[in-house]
Subunit: 301 residues, 2 copies
């Protein structure tokens, strides 16, 4: 017989109540059961847990050590059980997020800051490096939410719309294309296009504009950070296409000009993909609500 929590609870109860009978009552068992239990541990460990010489059973040296261990360990189990209870009640959980849309970091981060305050027991994280393959990762429970603009009809996966955005053309104020009313695919063929370092199919410019008409920019340069992309654009090292809300926040700068893509402009919609079973979880829907609010806030900025 190995030591089990049961035994720790028993030791503690006997010590607290100062007797087998009272301890048994507290644990909803018979005094006999406890006696057998103690005997079991003593046989197994080969040490006496109690001084039998006296009547109101007192702890021996070994017993004291076991009690000390019990007082340290039991609360941790209680915490674990409470944790589970929280998980069941939807008060705690995990919210690991994959972002297909590279620029989403910008608005997601402040949203998560808010979220953390509302759900302190939920384990929040953003998992980069899943730009492609994000939906399988969702199924696999590697992540719990995927930000994507390409809803797919997958069984067991819900796509909740977050907000619409417009991929816009960005160029330096003195760029030749800056004078156009709108930009077309063909305009890119003699341009250097600066993009995030992800697969082309994940970039709106390519998937929505260039690939369908088979236009290839003169050059493509991949840059990680949004701020750097804008810097390069400002210094006329190339042009870019970014979500409107990224550029909105620096629109006041005279260095950049934004122009719609195609005559009427292009509209895209961002979705939060979640497992159907999780969608109803209170903290999941709350995060989605927060994201929508953030979109409104960005629109005003």
């Amino acid at each position: 017989m190995r030591i089990e929590f049961r035994h720790l609870r028993t030791i503690k109860a006997i010590h607290d109540t100062g007797g087998l009978a009272r301890a048994a009552e507290q644990l909803n068992m018979t005094q006999s059961a406890l006696s057998h239990q103690i005997k079991g541990i003593e046989d197994q460990a080969g040490v006496a847990l109690f001084a039998r010489r006296t009547k109101p059973l007192r702890l021996s040296a070994a017993g004291e050590r076991m009690l000390a261990a019990a007082e340290k360990i039991l609360p941790q189990v209680v915490a674990l059980e409470a944790d589970f209870a929280g998980l069941v009640a939807g008060k705690s959980g995990r919210m690991h997020i994959a972002i297909e849309c590279h620029a989403c970091f910008e608005w997601l981060f402040p949203v998560l800051e808010q979220f953390r305050k509302a759900w302190p027991d939920v384990d929040v994280d953003i998992r980069p490096g899943l730009a492609f393959d994000a939906l399988p990762a969702l199924r696999r429970e590697d992540v719990d939410l995927v930000i994507s603009s390409d809803p797919e009809q997958v069984d067991g996966t819900d796509f909740s719309p977050l907000f619409d955005y417009e991929p816009v053309f960005v160029a330096a104020a003195n760029h030749p294309l800056a004078r156009r009313d709108f930009i077309e695919a063909a305009d890119f063929c003699d341009q250097t296009l600066i993009t995030y370092p992800v697969d082309r199919v994940r970039l709106d410019v390519f998937s929505q504009l260039l690939i369908p008409v088979k236009v290839e920019p003169a050059a493509v340069r991949q840059v990680e950070l949004t701020a750097v992309i804008l810097m390069l654009v400002a210094s006329n090292r190339g042009v870019a296409v970014l979500p409107d809300w990224v550029v909105n926040q620096i629109k006041y700068s005279a260095d950049y000009v934004t122009r719609p893509l195609t005559k009427g402009g292009m509209t895209r919609r961002l979705f939060a993909a979640t497992r159907t079973e999780d969608t109803a979880q209170p903290f999941v829907s709350h995060l989605i609500r927060l994201a929508r609010q953030e979109a409104v806030r960005m629109g005003r900025a």
Copy 2:
């Protein structure tokens, strides 16, 4: 079914080995048993511990939390079991000491310092406030060793001789009795006697000298600290009787004079009382050996 160590071990093994089958092998059980076990916890807690969607069974959010708890708790149990093993092997244990002889603090403390280094896993303590009633406390396992000069023939209690000492009369150098060759009981009847604040029967002067011949000092003043007793004696506020080894250490001072009690001097023997079952414990006998060595050292001082 409540959470038990078994379950923690299971979770950890599955995570470590990355599969039920391998984990089962490591735990010397069948894969089926683990499957049932997991189901048991999941039913009980109402949470899924694993993501069943994938094949190489992966931990879910709840599972990760349980694993975290397991990694924290299991080592503590191992420590407890190691502790027990040490207790059995006699490498660890408890050594709570009661001193009947109030002045024994002086030599016991350095002995315990040495002892602690040799037996770091033994829980050492000196329990004051048991001056009387010390032997029952030993039986009761309140303490594990009693320093006493009154061996009693008690069943199950061993008295190991430590060393002999001589209770000596101490007075200021200019005290009238200082000129005597030795001191008798009758000499106390017009003196103020300074003693430790304990029951008279525990004081050698009374039990060995004054009580048998029914002599009462003019006054008795009780003082806690040895240093203070000597200070008072030096300033002629009274006389005292202390073990020779206490006075030896300050003998060079011209302020005090020591004289034997009765013509031939009085000899007393100090014993260590232990429970018979414990006497053979290696650390118990080692402490007794250290005490005897300390006596030799004191004799030389």
